[in-house]
């Protein structure tokens, strides 16, 4: 069990990793990655019941699926800093012959990744399949998944959401990163989705809201509440309110940094706001 300061220090280091990774190759998705840094740190350090090492089937441990695969920088950073692969490998992000592809994949055998994602809207179905496999295997561990809010515009999600409730898949906690941004602008401008809480509840899911999804204590409390609601015949959705670009002031509250890398000066600015804590890769 880490204390909050340790988790915050790790989050600061993860922010540095994200900025340096996308800067080096002048590509990648820093905005959503930064917005979810606290969530990933809390998830991998505190929430997931994980075994040592990695095997694809993941029997006897909680599993996590990232559906909005473009926030790979935060996923890779936290996986590396949670011991799945050497931290130095973050240096190879998006380079030729790397296991750290632009979007996560099992194809290169990177430990910690169980499905390719990036083409949006597929992750919830996969997570539900893994949840059903857990039930067949009498494995009481949980499935966690993360989805973008804009991603919910993909219709396959709603097939999956309908399936989950209809089949009482109650060993899954699907989190939606509610940052209200997507590539072309605010979600409300691109395609207004109304109340996601009302929608999930209408589909007979249990919904837990985390008002400040960039606060580690709030995430831990909210996710504990979500976990307490599993196993009761309903799938559980967490609406995680985050700020895109969190922790780097000029990247916050805008979609501008969805898929754009900082230049040298912007990198220096961003890093200065997040002093090194655990050591850069």
């Amino acid at each position: 069990m880490s204390n909050t300061q340790q988790l915050e220090d790790l989050t600061t280091q993860v922010r540095r990793d994200i900025l340096r990774m996308v800067h080096k190759v002048n590509s990648g998705h820093p905005g959503g990655s930064l917005g979810c840094a606290e969530f990933f740190v809390a998830l991998y350090q505190e929430i997931l019941e994980r075994k040592e090492g990695f095997d694809m089937d993941g029997i006897g441990e909680d599993l996590f699926f990232l559906s909005n695969g473009h926030i790979s920088p935060v996923f890779y950073s936290v996986l590396a800093r949670s011991g799945y692969f050497p931290v130095n490998e973050l240096n190879t992000f998006r380079l030729i012959n790397s296991r750290l592809q632009g979007h996560p994949t099992t194809h290169e055998g990177l430990p910690g990744i169980r499905i390719a994602s990036g083409s949006l809207g597929q992750g919830m179905s996969v997570a539900l399949g893994a949840a059903q496999a857990k039930k067949l295997n009498n494995d009481k561990h949980l499935i966690y998944s993360l989805h973008g809010d804009g991603e919910l515009q993909e219709g396959q999600n709603w097939e999956a959401i309908m399936y989950a409730a209809g089949n009482k898949v109650d060993n899954i906690i699907s989190t939606v990163d509610l940052n209200h941004q997507q590539i072309d602008g605010c979600t409300d401008d691109v395609l207004p989705m109304g109340s996601l809480k009302a929608k999930f509840e209408a589909f007979d899911w249990t919904v837990v809201e985390i008002e400040n999804g960039n606060n580690i204590d709030a995430i831990l409390k909210g996710m504990a509440e979500a976990k307490s609601k599993t196993g009761k015949g309903k799938p559980v959705c967490v609406l995680l309110n985050t700020v895109m670009g969190n922790g780097v002031d000029f990247m916050m509250h805008t979609h501008a940094w969805h898929g754009k890398a900082p230049n040298d000066e912007q990198l220096a600015n961003g890093l200065s706001q997040n002093p090194e804590t655990l050591g850069d890769y």
């Binding site: 179905s125 399949g129 494995d139 396959q156």
Partner: protein, 317 residues
């Protein structure tokens, strides 16, 4: 020439259902998913015998493919069942990313392929699925020819680690392969020896190829017939060995000539041993409503069409 006996018409989809029933008894990791077509896919027995391992997903094929990919994580061997059109074109990106690129052990089992779906018409008669599936890296593509072979193939693919597309059909057709056959993925089956022309056929066209060989034999033409049940990986050696003897080839399939078995055979020939080839396939067209026999006749996918193609290709030698 060697001849084969039809032991009684049966539909290939029932062969799939029988294979799945067998797998239910022998392999506890096999699970099945269906998108509201249990009766059409003949999955009733599996559902009845193993309700805990059967997933009715409703009319939601994209979700079905994702669920299947997820079920492999934890060691299950999922068999998805719906029509070929909804098994491929409708869910191409789901198969591409969540199954093929992720190298998941999913068996995509597709009934009602091709024109012989019949009266429902072109919306449901996919003639592009072999092409779609064979283009995916790592995907195995199988189109067995009759009931017995479809049953054997269904059982065999459970033992194969990796994604598989298994294609079969709706109508009752000749059942002529051995009931106790061992199905070997990627191994072409040499059915009839011949010297003048090679006929390679897949799926429902294999029986038509045998009928064509009889007609050709009566005309004094010796046709070699090969059953290509596995389109990918293709048995290059069997094809090359045969054309080395006959010097020309007819490919026959219930599929568009663009992207099907014929084009795969062309690649093998042009890169190894170019010989004249004729295609018995649809000519870049959609189908239409009609009985299976009427459609196969109108679109030139029967024994008569194979005979004509064989006579034509021999002249081109």
């Amino acid at each position: 020439m060697k001849t084969y006996t039809n032991t009684g018409n049966k539909d290939t989809r029932s062969g799939f259902g029988a294979g799945l029933t067998e797998l239910g008894k022998t392999n506890e990791n096999v699970v099945a998913l269906c998108a509201d077509l249990i009766g059409s896919l003949k999955m009733d027995d599996f559902k009845k015998n193993h309700p805990e391992r059967f997933f009715q997903v409703g009319i939601a094929e994209a979700n079905m493919i994702g669920l299947a990919a997820g079920l492999t994580i934890g060691g299950k061997i999922p068999f998805t069942g719906t029509f070929a059109n909804f098994s491929t074109g409708r869910v191409y990106d789901q198969i591409r990313q969540s199954v093929a690129y992720s190298n998941k052990n999913v068996k995509i089992c597709a009934s009602h392929a091709g024109l012989t779906l019949g009266e429902d018409g072109a919306t449901h008669q996919i003639l592009e699925d072999i092409g779609l599936m064979k283009m995916l890296p790592g995907m195995t593509v199988i189109n067995p020819c009759d009931y017995n072979q479809t049953k054997a193939a269904t059982i065999a693919i459970a033992e194969h680690e990796g994604p598989v597309y298994l294609r079969f059909g709706r109508p009752s057709v000749a059942n002529f392969t051995a009931e106790d056959q061992k199905f070997e993925i990627g191994k072409a089956l040499h059915l009839v020896d011949g010297a003048d022309v090679t006929i390679v056929a897949t799926g429902h066209l294999v029986w038509e190829a045998l009928e064509a060989a009889k007609t050709l034999n009566e005309k004094g033409i010796s046709a070699e017939v090969i059953n290509i049940h596995t389109i990918k990986p293709l048995d290059d050696a069997a094809i090359l060995k045969s054309v080395g003897k006959t010097g020309c080839i007819v490919t026959a399939e219930e599929h568009n000539h663009l992207g099907g078995l014929g084009e795969s055979v062309s690649r093998v020939l042009t890169t190894n041993h170019p010989v004249p080839q004729e295609f018995v396939a649809t000519n870049d067209t959609f189908g239409e409503s009609g009985t299976p026999a009427q459609l196969m006749d109108k679109y030139g996918l029967n024994a008569e069409a194979i005979v004509k193609a064989a006579e034509k290709v021999i002249k081109r030698k």
